[in-house]
Symmetry: C2
Subunit: 243 residues, 2 copies
């Protein structure tokens, strides 16, 4: 199985994603939030780029059927129901709902992968579930990290490393340089992710803004063990391999 | 001092390079070759993108004054004097000459940085000289790796790590995520660079093509301890800090 890794959506050419299972990662916080919402029983997420687009889509739904979620500058968007904090996506809030979400980096990365064979959403909170899914499907993979404002972001690379580390124990994987680096970084820091992340850009910005609880949750391995699939503009929980 | 790191030329926005000392790295092999040629007494390098451009520039020079160097698909270009192997750029061949060079990744990276304040050429062979220069100049730095065909290339990242590792012992450096990663990777592998590089894309391709001697030389720390400066289309050895 070939695995290619892209540190930012811009570094991934659409052509390179076309025949792959694409795994999109924005560990702090968008994909952690989406995975958590689906784990807690929401019906689906609709990831969109713009606030305006989100508000327009919401008009198609009954008032009780949807929630608007996301962030700009890490903060809740005015008039939206939910921010980009996974802690807000509890069962009593999200169960049965369609959530229209827009975030600075994560939703862009998901939309970039639209033409891929399959698009899977990953973060630390579902590392094992995603690894198992990839192993069972058995096709070549492209990992697309959301990064931060177009820059390499270490937390996403560590999620990639955790998935690769799982997979390479069970099958032969052919890695590119960034895959080798991701796996090396994860395996040498897995018991102290906090330590190596402390000085990094996005982590320290969120910590400065008071989101320590979100960070702590987003680094919890396998806290929400499901696999979300993005298809036809909508993200839903995978029920079986034929999805 | 702020240090930002870009894994490929495309990931570096021109604007982000403008007010920086830009360090361009293509350890296997273009920047190692340029540094070595200058160390061995050649007058200057003119890095160009196209073979045609190289041939046209050569027309301005007397027959004895220039050499054409470079590669396509890692091999010598038809009609050129020299390939991209640093082993060919010996004193008896290059002394006093202008060398017009075109390579697949390296010369593109150099040209991308054209608008920067200063552009410095680095590789393992001049790590300490470059680190000393940066420390003395004391301005913010952008490290631009050539990568391989648009992809993240580990050997370049390890050169970045070696320079950062030198600098951070002597002054306070503010690193982005890729800077943290580069330094970590270098410091944890400096005594066995070969081991971590063996599975990587460009290294293993060159090894397959029979360039083991080039690889061995390109990994030699400080084998050619000079600092090349790219200015007005030409790369020359820096003689003093005011250059």
């Amino acid at each position: 199985m070939k695995i290619d890794v892209y540190a930012t959506p811009d570094s991934a050419k659409e052509k390179a994603l076309k025949d792959r299972i694409v795994v999109v990662i924005d560990a702090l916080r968008a994909t952690s939030t989406i995975i958590t919402g689906l784990y807690n029983g929401c019906k689906e997420f609709i990831p969109v780029i713009d606030i305006e687009e989100a508000v327009n889509i919401a008009k198609n739904y009954d008032r009780d059927a949807f929630l608007l979620g996301g962030e700009r500058n890490a903060q809740k968007i005015e008039g939206f129901h939910l921010s980009n904090s996974p802690m807000e996506y509890t069962r009593d809030v999200v169960e049965g709902k369609t959530i229209i979400i827009t975030t600075t980096n994560g939703t862009k990365a998901i939309r970039k992968a639209s033409d891929a064979k399959k698009v899977i959403i990953a973060a630390f909170v579902n590392v094992n579930a995603v690894s198992d899914y990839i192993r069972k499907v058995g096709e070549d993979v492209a990992m697309v990290c959301a990064g931060t404002d177009g820059y390499f972001s270490l937390e996403d690379i560590l999620v990639v490393g955790a998935i690769i580390s799982n997979l390479k124990d069970k099958l032969h994987v052919k890695l590119d340089d960034l895959g080798i680096v991701s796996c090396y970084l994860y395996e040498n820091n897995k018991d102290k992710l906090d330590d190596i992340l402390k000085g990094t850009r996005h982590y320290s910005r969120l910590a400065r803004l008071g989101f320590e609880k979100d960070i702590e949750y987003c680094l919890k391995m396998n806290a929400a063990p499901i696999v979300p699939l993005y298809r036809d503009g909508v993200i839903r929980k995978i029920k079986n391999l034929r999805d």
